[in-house]
Amino acid sequence: MIARLFAHEMHKLVARKRSWIGFAAFFALQVAILALLQLPKPKAEIARILSNNGLGFEDHYMGLTLAIVIIAFTFTLLGALYVSLVGGDIVAKEVEEGTMRMLLSRPIRRIDLLAVKFAACCLYTVALVVFLGIISLIFASAYRGGLGRLFIFMPDEGLFASYDTWTGLFRYARSIVCLAYGTTAVVAVSFMFSCFKMKPVSATVLTLSFFLADVILSNLPYFSSIKHWFISQHIGFWVRTYHEHPPWHDIAVSAAVVTAVALSAFAIGAARFCTRDLKT
């Protein structure tokens, strides 16, 4: 029965136009970024960074490097927006539109319904991130005529690395999986707010506010010694997988924090929803 419920939940999710906004937005954004990168000035800027680091432009300004640039700069904000939009809708929208009352007049436990909805949200998040990862790579490679070498430079993370094509491709795929996993914390928090008595848009706005506040606080210089207290620092653990020798212990801790946040958010949301009166 749970499998059947999950299938119907996914069907509802993919049949809704709103669910595709994220895919369409990322698609459009990537086209825009690649179009802008064709302009002489941005191209020269990238060439300057590469040559300053002793790296050849033609080898490194290729599909893999560009794909990482696109993901790093687009997903941080837009990704959170689109997954929280879906997570914020998943329960609150059904309550608002009245379909939840109809569902709950059926012999189904609320917790089962929520578990199915939560799983659908997580699967949606993974699909969105993987989609982004794949089309970024396809577009960037098509634009530059190949995958090339992977170059990544993130001073804040102490990250400076260059890998050959196959190593780079493996690392890229691994980082996308980690990014997808980290993003489930965002969708879980929006799911939690969605379970409370509020409008879907409020759940989305609260989620974004929560994570933006987290990012702002974690970047204040006064809090650098307690950076690891902030969720956003753990969600971004995908970047650390690009280190030549990835800090696996730190990565495992961050993955555990993400898991704990997601499960806690589900538990809080479920506890609230399962004790709520649903009435027009």
Binding site: M1, R4, L5, A7, H8, H11, K12, A15, R16, K17, E97, G98, T99, R101, M102, L103, L104, S105, R106, P107, I108, R109, L113, T275, D277, L278, K279, T280
Partner: protein, 331 residues
């Protein structure tokens, strides 16, 4: 298998509060299998809250609710397995077709085969349009789809909250006919909560009237004491006629629950309470003998509206009496 003597719905001591306001005062209600019961009440009377509690959507503060012998609070699955319900505004996923909605909703109950869905769709007359998106359905079609989902898979108890809300006159008749057929053909127990007195009057023999969370009437509405021994007549000089009838001991005080002892105009008939031994014929003879012109006379034909309004009037009077400060409080 549930024995036939097990009530289809049994509510004992149901109480629900929202903050300081008590929406439902301890409520007792038993509905036998196969009954069609109307639940009446003004907005905020507690009808929808009660039905919400029956469906496990609202958590009671006290009391127990059993559907076909199964406690809704502790055995939700078993209790609701045989219940179909529709609410005031039929809500569906507009971006899915009617058929996809039915499949999605039916999947919450268990495996429902395609043939069963087709049968229900045919029964509610939606075969031609069931593959269209619900977003393009009229209100009447949504209501029919709501009935279809409530019929999956073969419930024994049908709970209809305002089934005709928002429908045009033709739609109201259509839905009413459909409910009648479902009741008659499938032997369903039906609970109809509605503001539409005419609808309940035509559908149900038994009504439950709620007022401010209290059950103020429960029974066969045509047999209500309100209608017993009430005579309806058109007579000239009604004030004098009433006085004469009282002196003849044919009429007691005018029925307090009927507000038309002395009609305000010629279009409204007077309603008087006959003395226990008197008949309309006795009254007619006495009035004619005394020179009053009686245009029309007869026992009052029961109408649900009369019962409802009289109950509302009594409830208001009781509320006013309760609200009056006691001498101790005044002191």
């Amino acid at each position: 298998m549930t024995p036939s003597h097990t009530p289809a719905l049994e509510i004992q001591g149901l109480t629900k509060r929202f903050g300081k306001r008590t929406a439902v005062h301890p409520l007792e209600l038993t509905i036998r299998p196969g009954e069609m019961v109307g639940v009446l009440g003004h907005n905020g009377a507690g009808k929808s809250t009660t039905l919400g509690c029956v469906l496990g959507q609202v958590f009671p503060d006290a009391g127990t609710i059993r559907v076909a012998g199964h406690d809704v609070a502790t055995h939700r699955r078993k209790a609701l397995a045989n219940v179909g319900a529709i609410f005031e505004t039929p809500c569906f996923y507009g971006y899915l077709s009617g058929m996809q909605n039915l499949r999605a909703i039916a999947s919450m109950t268990g495996r429902v085969d395609a043939a069963a869905i087709d049968r229900v769709v045919e029964r509610v007359g939606m075969t031609d349009r069931v593959h269209d998106r619900v977003a393009v359905y009229s209100h009447g079609m949504r209501q029919r789809l709501a009935l279809a989902q409530a019929m999956l898979p073969e419930p024994k108890l049908l709970i209809l909250d305002e089934p005709s809300d928002g429908l045009d006159p033709a739609g109201i008749v259509e839905v009413r006919q459909l409910i009648r057929e479902l009741h008659a053909d499938a032997g369903l127990t039906v609970v109809v909560a509605s503001h539409q007195l005419a609808e309940v009057e035509q559908l149900c023999d038994r009504v439950v009237v709620m007022d401010h969370g209290h059950k103020v009437f429960d029974g066969q509405w045509r047999d209500a004491p309100t209608f017993q021994g009430v005579v309806e007549l058109e007579v000239d000089r009604p004030t004098q006629a009433l006085e004469h009838a009282k002196t003849q001991a044919l009429v007691t005080d005018p029925a307090p629950q009927h507000q038309t002892a002395i009609p305000p105009n010629h279009q409204t008939p007077a309603r008087w309470q006959l003395a226990p031994t008197a008949t309309p014929a006795d009254l007619n003879a006495a009035l004619v003998a005394a020179g009053f012109a009686v245009q029309r006379i007869g026992l009052l034909k029961p109408q649900l509206e009369d019962l409802y309004l009289s109950l509302r009037a009594s409830a208001k009077k009781n509320t006013a009496a309760t609200d009056e400060p006691t001498p101790e409080a005044a002191a």
